[in-house]
């Protein structure tokens, strides 16, 4: 008998694992009939998950953490037993801003340090001359986009809350807002950067993977009580999604995957704007500048480098940024809530049972690996990293207090 599961998702390339799980039959093979419901806002996904209209959801990684910290309208506890890939975002700026930055100093496209330095000079010049502050769009306060954009700006010497302004916009509206000059840049998931470039509205200047390599983006979010009451279904789902992630990660499947996502039921965008994020060609040199391929080896990783493992160090990094930007106070209890929202224990017990290589630790030091290495796994070999931040700083989850202290303005 098939178990029906209702899943909410937003039209983004990183919903691929859920969509392929249905379309390629991985869910069906595990006895799950996935009902995929496209949503128009993350608020809708959050609300419908909380009241039980959805059993599972494609979710911004910080969202279940925010929910458990009481920063959202519901008391419902959520967990993330699996990640839905690494990377997948980029920062796009308008043609006008790019020209202004180039005037300040030359830089290599996609080199986060050089691009950040040029932007900082442009912003300082603008403030000196009394120009209107630049506006950057992100999709949600509790998103990887918001936190990685703020991290990049801060580390480049730009204060995200006073030197520029960050506004919230839905992903499909970003490109038009950029084209009409309502905003000067945005940080969003694919395909919405490629769409902006295709419209001639701007250029991609940095990828998430160039700011923080192998960094977390979306997770599978489920209600904690649902997970406890339906362990067999959850386990079957994780197996199906793992197989789907494997399929999505195979280069020979990228063209099929792009066609699948292009359907009006899913992204409703031409396959031609979806494929560049999947096959990495999004990082190839553009007409306006040289790129630095070494800085961004992997744009979006649905599978390799343990891309679906829900590292608790990732949860804690997001938490540290929620504290940094004043969304929540730092206490030992809050940190514990954030850490335990991600459930590597569930992931490990389900997937090691089917002989999949799984990290044996729940956390890692972010920024410790400057290249890909083979590490100890519960079975077979697992490759991890690189996982460094562009500014060379290290996040050690065991030294959370010191990290938070070091980021105080």
């Amino acid at each position: 008998m098939m178990t029906e599961l209702s899943a909410g998702f937003l039209p983004l390339t990183d919903s691929a694992i859920l969509i392929a799980a249905k379309e390629r039959g991985f869910a069906h093979d595990e006895g799950i009939a996935l009902d995929l419901v496209r949503e128009t806002s993350w608020a809708n996904v959050r609300d419908k998950l909380a009241v039980g209209q959805f059993e599972i959801a494609h979710s911004l990684a910080p969202m279940p953490i925010a929910a458990n910290l009481g920063l959202t309208p519901f008391d419902t506890r959520l967990i993330a037993p699996m990640a839905l890939g690494l990377g997948g975002n980029a920062i796009t700026v308008s043609n006008r801003l790019l020209a202004g930055m180039k005037q300040q100093q030359d830089f290599t496209m996609l080199n986060a340090r050089e691009v950040g330095a040029a932007l900082a000079r442009h912003v300082r010049a603008g403030l000196r001359e009394g120009r209107k502050r630049l506006q950057f769009g992100v999709v949600h306060p509790f998103s990887g986009h918001n936190f990685e954009l703020r991290y990049w700006l801060s580390a480049s010497g730009i204060a995200p809350e006073s030197d520029i302004e960050i506004v919230i916009l839905p992903p499909p509206l970003m490109a038009d807002a950029l084209a009409t000059g309502q905003i000067d840049g945005y940080c969003v998931g694919e395909p919405w950067n490629t769409v902006g470039v295709a419209k001639g509205a701007g250029h991609i200047v940095a990828a998430k993977s160039s700011i923080w390599a192998s960094s977390p983006e979306k997770v599978l979010a489920v209600r904690e009580d649902w997970a406890e009451e339906n362990p067999a279904t959850l386990h079957a789902l994780l197996r199906a999604l793992y197989r789907s992630a494997e399929w999505c990660g195979q280069p020979e499947n990228h063209a099929d995957l792009a066609d699948m996502l292009a359907s009006p039921r899913y992204l409703g965008q031409p396959a031609g704007v979806i494929l560049p994020a999947l096959d990495g060609s999004i990082l190839r040199p553009s007409a306006t500048g040289r790129t630095d391929p070494a800085a961004t080896p992997d744009f979006f990783q649905p599978h390799s480098r343990a891309a679906t493992f829900p590292w608790q160090s990732h949860a804690l990094w997001f938490y540290s940024q929620m504290v940094r930007w004043g969304y929540v106070d730092h206490t030992a209890e809050h940190a514990s809530i954030a850490r335990h929202t991600f459930r590597p224990d569930i992931y490990r017990s389900v997937l090691s049972a089917i002989d999949v290589p799984v990290p044996s630790a729940n956390s890692k030091v972010e920024g410790a690996l400057s290249r890909t290495i083979a590490v100890g796994a519960s079975s077979r070999v697992l490759y991890l990293g690189p996982d460094g931040f562009f500014d060379g700083s290290i996040f050690d989850p065991d030294r959370l207090d010191a990290y938070i202290e070091s980021q105080k303005a």
Partner: protein
Amino acid sequence: MVERLPSVLIIDENTTRASIIEAGLSAAGHTRVTVINEMHGIAAKIALHEPDVIVIDLENPNRDMLESIFQLSRAVKRPIAMFVDRSDTEAMQSAIDAGVSAYVVDGLRQERVKSILDMAISRFNAFSRLERELEEARGALEERKVIDQAKGLIMKSRGVDEATAYKLLRKAAMNGNRKIVDVAESLVMSARLLGDEGK
């Protein structure tokens, strides 16, 4: 002392639905009700109206943006929180089922807000019912058209009258355990594909 009823802002890009909610609230004695259909410059509009309650349709893709505006105003001005009493998931359930969400100024008493949300929910539901009925009526018209076309095809190819053509159609449907309209549809479709005019 007479308490003033809360001021309400309705954000709905569907002008018809917004106006039936507005009418309902006016009938219930709410005098300070504003409708916004156009999202452009929404932050300034909200600041101008300083609403106590904001009602918004769930299909609006700008919900995330609006929530962030409320969050910002929490820091600088009047606090606005999501309406629902955190424990009252039933109320939230029915609101979400209806496709509506609401936000209120922090500190407003729940019972003063409940009637507004109840009104919004019932009007949203009534509107969806209406839409469904219209959709069905439109569907029924379409069905009749397809069946007429199929009858015409049979009459032409078999040289029979209309009543016989309909009987043939009904028989084919019964034999295949399908609906008449489905058989008619596939007949029309295949005739189109095969280039019916060439016969």
